[in-house]
């Protein structure tokens, strides 16, 4: 493999008429990193990727590769590999023709093309299918061809635009592992776009969460998962219980206490909040315990209303009082009408600004 890039830095704004699709999105990617743009559809993540690839010009800003401004370069001069959501294989070329396309354009000798294409097809487990046309392959095989076609050129940077979203659930998990393996094995630098948080968490070194073209939070998967900085990221990452509170003076260092909706809750102090201000406390269903708290803090009684079966677990809606209902995930067998005791471990509750 060719030397991976050392750093890719960009600051881009994209507007279509009056609509801002990307608002000064700034990022610094280091070599061998796996960076993911995560967000709901329409958040600008694919646009950002296309701008990095050179397929769409930014309205403002530029891109620097190892310190050199490449914003003016057309896509064919950037040397980035790209994998598309719908694979974008050339339907009139065989698997071999598709993978060889880039090498042929580089005017490599025929024997070199043959060896490199065969090696790449072996790497993505497609040996023996070289004479097939894309229309004769399954979705998973087509995506492997698309990945092989980009990788065979030994790109400094791999751009992957929702490459797994057209595959069924089982295949998606398999391909996810394969992509991760290829990334590590070949020492690639990758930028990946997805709306699936599980994909983002399992693949990435660094996650960038976007909403309406604005960066909401960037950080390691653990950061994004455990310490969301705002309601949007928390909601997107699976926090399902939110409590509007007014913060009270801290009862102890590192702890905040809030009161609202008839509940008094303690949470881990993430910093930046002063007593008297409004905040939202959030907790995931799987972090709520179905047991009385040892110290009596954050403990409530409730009644089970709805039970959703999830396979290994259940997710239950428990009403604490007329105004408050929380979602709890448990392996215990619950039935609607059951009386339960709940406790919210304070270190699992995060404090978020109200907007």
């Amino acid at each position: 493999m060719k030397e991976s890039l050392k750093s890719l830095r960009f600051s881009i704004t994209k507007r279509y008429g009056a609509k801002t699709v990307l608002d000064r999105l700034e990022l610094d990617i280091r070599g061998r990193q796996f960076v993911t743009f995560l967000g709901p559809s329409g958040c600008g993540k694919s646009t950002a990727l296309s701008i990095v690839a050179g397929l769409i010009p930014p309205t403002e800003g530029s891109i620097w590769l190892d310190g050199e401004d490449i914003g003016h370069l057309p896509p064919e001069k950037r040397g980035f590999g790209m994998v598309f959501q719908n694979y974008a294989l050339f339907p009139h070329m065989t698997v071999f023709g598709n993978v060889a396309f880039g090498l042929e354009l580089q005017r490599r000798p025929a024997h070199e093309i043959r060896t490199r294409v065969q090696a790449m097809l072996a790497l993505v487990q497609l040996s023996g299918l070289d004479e097939r046309y894309p229309g004769q392959l399954s979705g998973g095989q087509q995506q492997r061809v698309a990945i092989a076609r980009a990788l065979v050129l030994e790109p400094q940077l791999m751009l992957l635009d929702e490459p797994l979203s057209n595959l069924d659930a089982k295949l998606r998990v398999e391909m996810r592992a394969e992509i991760k393996e290829l990334h590590a094995e070949l020492g690639l630098t990758s930028v990946y776009v997805t709306h699936d948080q599980a994909e983002a968490l399992s693949l990435s070194d660094w996650i960038v969460v976007l909403r309406d073209g604005v960066l909401m939070q960037a950080g390691s998967p653990q950061d994004i998962h455990d310490r969301p900085r705002n309601l949007f990221v928390a909601d997107f990452m699976g926090f399902r219980n939110f409590f509007k509170v007014r913060l009270a003076p801290a009862p102890a260092p590192g702890i905040v206490e809030g009161e609202g909706g008839g509940l008094r809750l303690r949470a881990r102090d993430g910093g930046g909040f002063s007593p008297g201000s409004d905040a939202v406390l959030a907790i995931r269903p799987e972090d709520i315990r179905l047991a009385p708290a040892a110290d009596g803090a954050n403990a409530f009684r409730g009644r089970v209303e709805i039970v959703e079966y999830l396979g290994r677990e259940h997710e239950a809606a428990v009403s604490i009082d007329a105004r408050t209902r929380v979602w709890v995930r448990t392996t215990e067998l619950l039935a609607p009408g059951d009386a339960v005791e709940l406790s919210f471990p304070p270190d699992k509750l995060v404090v978020l600004p109200t907007e």
């Binding site: 690839a53 896509p75 719908n86 339907p91 396309f101 229309g135 004769q136 980009a150």
Partner: protein, 294 residues
């Protein structure tokens, strides 16, 4: 179960046949019968009794008549080439939508709605010896003598182009904008310049549609009649095969000979279509595979 399915199917087939009858009748009465009757007529010359190939023999022995085949090809092929090439160029450029697209498309389509006669009148008024174009050119001193753009080969080509370009353009625009845009994006990231994207990715995928568009334009041009009369030299350079048939039918009142000329015209069109289909098959053998399943 099996019997039920079969029963249902035959019932459906019966109903389908009944529904088919009106259109079948239409095709038989208005196309197949006149067509076969034309062939029958052409084989029964006016001045001879019974079956004879005399009409065909006469046609191919008379340079004034068989020359029309060459004249018509000379109009139809260059026109089809120019129309398809310009339409391809424009439709390719407009494949992702452009500014004022609706207005431009409307202007391009307008000639279709006007009809050939009005269009030809317009061409005479604009490009004729005393037309606006020549008056403007003379007044500005760009030319000393008026350009001869009508009542010759150029006039007919102008008219054919304006009649057939919109059809061809719309067909190709629909075809090209149906091709997945990410194919271009992926080709670019693999190192292809816009020209290579066109030549190696897009053109092979457009080829089947281009062949159909070319064939349609060719067939329409080969039947050129009103514009060859109004804008050309109907007794000389643009005496197309349709004019030859018309003269036999309505000037010589020899419907039998006219039918023979019409059959020859049909055979020429058929031969060209077969050639186009063969070339298309050779050019794009891989292109059709999997185009529907992207």
């Amino acid at each position: 179960m099996r019997r039920g399915v079969l029963g249902e199917r035959s019932e459906f087939d019966g109903l389908a046949l009944v529904c088919l009858l009106p259109s079948l009748f239409y095709v038989l009465a208005l196309f197949v019968y006149p067509f076969l009757y034309g062939i029958y007529l052409s084989l029964h010359p006016l001045k001879l009794a019974g079956f004879s190939l005399a009409n065909y023999a006469t046609f191919f022995m008379d340079p004034y008549q068989y020359g029309t085949v060459w004249i018509t090809f000379r109009l139809a092929i260059p026109n089809a080439v120019v129309v398809s090439a310009v339409a391809l160029w424009l439709a390719y450029g407009m494949r992702r939508g452009i500014w004022l697209e609706r207005t431009i498309t409307t202007v391009l389509i307008l000639p279709i709605s006007l009809g050939v006669i009005l269009l030809s009148e317009g061409i005479l008024g604009f490009y004729g010896a005393n037309g606006w174009l020549n008056q403007a050119l003379l007044a500005t001193g760009i030319v000393a003598e008026p350009l001869e753009l009508t009542h010759n080969y150029i006039g007919v080509i102008l008219s054919l182009f304006m009649q057939q370009f919109p059809f061809c353009f719309l067909m190709l625009l629909g075809y090209i904008s149906g091709i997945d845009p990410s194919l271009e994006g992926s080709a670019r990231t693999l190192g292809a310049t816009p020209w290579i994207v066109f030549r190696r990715v897009m053109l092979p995928l457009i080829a089947p549609g281009l062949a159909i568009a070319f064939a349609l334009v060719f067939v329409m041009s080969f039947a050129v009649f009103p514009s060859a009369l109004m804008l050309g030299q109907p007794s000389g350079a643009t005496r197309s095969i349709a004019i030859a048939a018309y003269q036999q039918a309505f000037e010589q009142y020899d419907m039998s000979y006219a039918s023979a000329i019409a059959v020859i015209m049909g055979l020429c069109q058929l031969a060209a279509l077969v050639a186009i289909v063969l070339i298309r098959g050779r050019l794009a053998s891989g292109a059709t595979i999997g185009i529907g399943k992207r």
